[in-house]
């Protein structure tokens, strides 16, 4: 990469490094895999660790070469702080950062890049709403509706708020089959005290795809706003905030082939405009006097301090990559794998699947294996290079509801193969033998 690189060419240069974009209808996970350095080794060499069979994409996805290169290119060629310097590379860096925002905003269907605030991750995005929207707008006696299948990131910020402000939390129940009991929602909304319904689009444990538009419609009908936790949906399926009709959307970069340390909060402009800042510091102000400050415009009002610039550039490359694959194709691939997994896993004796049928879930499968602790299962699988998550997946209330202390979870992305599922099934047979 030469020194004359500009923000615009950084991504396109990275693109040539990964070869031409695959044909939209020719989705081939095996070819996709070639773009992911960590997944390239396919043969088990003596004395070396086994090749990775990565089945933990719901925790974090792997990164394609184009993302890694876009970030290292930023550091190698135009590293500078943004929105400040008037020299060439500072302007390049600023352009790359704002270009990333525009690109990611378009990816989620935002009306304008102004509506996209970069955050560290979904957790920070939800906390931003809890602090900067909920605190000024909610009073004691108001209520927030969540669901029993939330990740801790969409529970704990509201616990803090509830304790501090006397706000009541209500929960849409989860059925034994792992789906939301939507019939309960009108009742939860009936007294008109609910100001916000905040819920996960796709469950990180069960894979359940929740009916977002329907929940949003009910929330709005009761005068409440709707926030969607898109941590597991934005990385895996087409998400268009205007089609969903929601008011806020939280998502994180590292689950969508991008780097850690960057995520996003999308909000309707008029709502974000009316909110006070979340964190105070540099960049989020227009004018500072010793006696006080004037806030900057959207979205910078919410971006205090130096932001993760390389990460924004990396996230942009990830979005470019995902769009070249096509989000419909990515989701179809997830569904195909999950269908295959739901068909094959029951071959393992004593295995219990959690969650809905394949038709209503994304690429996530949680299960238990007899009386074996998921940690033991995961450790045996690890000896063959198979990476699964074991534990409560930051959703303790959901596990309590389902009556299991912990589960093992396999999850997929665009680089996952049917052979990965085969290896998992074989590894589970082996785990049973070890502890028989």
């Amino acid at each position: 990469m030469g020194r004359t690189v500009t923000a615009g060419t950084a991504a396109s240069a990275a693109r040539t490094a990964t070869g031409p974009a695959p044909a939209p209808r020719g989705f081939d996970a095996r070819r996709v895999r070639e773009d992911f350095p960590i997944l390239r080794a396919r043969v088990r060499l003596p004395g070396a660790p086994p090749p990775l069979i990565y089945l933990d994409s719901a925790a974090t996805s792997q990164k394609p070469q184009s993302v890694i290169e876009a970030m290292s290119d930023y550091y190698a060629s135009y590293n500078a702080n943004i929105h400040r310097g008037i020299y060439r590379i500072a302007e390049q860096a600023t352009a790359a950062y704002e270009d990333a925002r525009a690109r990611v905003a378009r990816f989620i269907g935002a009306a304008s890049p102004r509506e996209l605030v970069f955050t560290r991750n979904s957790t920070e995005a939800i906390n931003l709403i809890a602090y900067a929207w909920a605190r000024p707008n909610l009073k004691p006696g108001d209520a927030i509706v969540l669901t029993e299948m939330e990740h801790h990131s969409n529970l704990v910020p509201w616990h803090i708020l509830a304790a501090e402000r006397g706000v009541e939390l209500r929960f849409i129940p989860v059925t034994p089959g792992g789906e939301l009991e939507l019939a309960a929602l009108p009742r939860l909304l009936a007294d008109g005290r609910v100001k916000l319904v905040s819920f996960v689009h796709i469950s990180n444990v069960l894979g359940t795809v929740n009916p977002v538009a329907e929940i949003v419609r009910l929330a709005h009908g009761a005068g409440a706003l709707a926030m969607v936790d898109g941590s597991q949906s934005v990385p895996h399926c087409p998400v268009d905030v205007r089609a969903l009709g929601c008011d806020f959307l939280a998502f994180t970069g590292h689950k969508m082939l991008g780097p850690t340390g960057i995520g996003g909060l999308w909000g309707r402009a008029e709502l974000l405009e009316a909110m006070p800042p979340f964190l105070g510091g540099g960049e989020m102000i227009r004018e500072v006097k010793l006696s006080g400050s004037q806030w900057n415009d959207l979205p910078w009002k919410f971006e205090a301090g130096t932001m993760p610039i390389a990460e924004a550039v990396g996230l942009r490359a990830a979005v470019d990559y995902l769009e070249r694959l096509g989000m419909d194709a990515v989701f179809a691939h997830d569904r195909e794998l999950v269908e295959y997994a739901l068909e094959r896993l029951p071959e393992v004796p004593e295995l219990t699947l959690l969650g809905p049928p394949a038709a209503r879930r994304g690429g996530v499968v949680a299960f238990t294996l007899g009386t074996l602790h998921p940690h033991d299962v995961a450790t045996v699988l690890d000896s063959d290079g198979i990476c699964v998550r074991a534990g409560h997946h930051c959703a303790m209330p959901l596990h309590e509801k389902l009556g299991v202390p912990a589960t093992a979870r396999a999850s997929f992305h665009c680089y996952s193969l049917r052979e990965d599922v085969d290896a998992l099934v074989e590894g589970l047979h082996k785990a049973r033998k070890v502890f028989a």
Binding site: H373, H375, D382
Partner: protein
């Protein structure tokens, strides 16, 4: 982790204690009883002790968890049964790892140490993880 990690981690002695736990159960009228959990794993452990003349007369553990947590509880009970109560205070993280005969990453380490943590909390009110006392 080495290619045969499960051979390493699930050494025969660990599997033996997991499949045939010693001192498993509860005691009637224990002098000391304490329960603790490792919320990260969902491991849950209870230790019951009967003490006579400053010695552990009887000890039993109950609860549920992974093989490492269950085996280390079983081994620990075997180790302290009949021994002076004072010896429990001196037991360390390294003693547990030596009993298990393996090295563990940070997550599984907590599984291994839950029994000792529970025991020390019950006997001495020491509630930190073994190896992190005073930190």
């Amino acid at each position: 982790m080495s290619t045969d990690a499960w051979n390493e981690i699930y050494r025969e002695n660990i599997l033996d204690h997991y499949k045939h736990p010693r001192h498993r159960g509860t005691l009637e009228h224990p002098d000391i009883t304490y329960e603790d959990a490792n919320p990260l794993c969902g491991d849950h452990l209870r230790m019951d002790l009967k003490v006579k003349d400053g010695k552990v007369e009887e000890v039993a553990f109950s609860g549920h968890g992974c093989s490492i947590s269950q085996a280390s509880a079983s081994m620990l009970c075997e180790r302290i049964a009949g021994r002076p109560l004072e010896e429990i205070r001196a037991l360390t993280r390294d003693d547990v790892l030596e009993m298990l005969g393996i090295e563990l990453g940070p997550v599984r380490l907590k599984c291994a140490l839950l029994a000792l943590k529970t025991l020390k909390a019950g006997v001495y009110g020491i509630t930190q993880w073994p190896g992190e006392e005073g930190s």
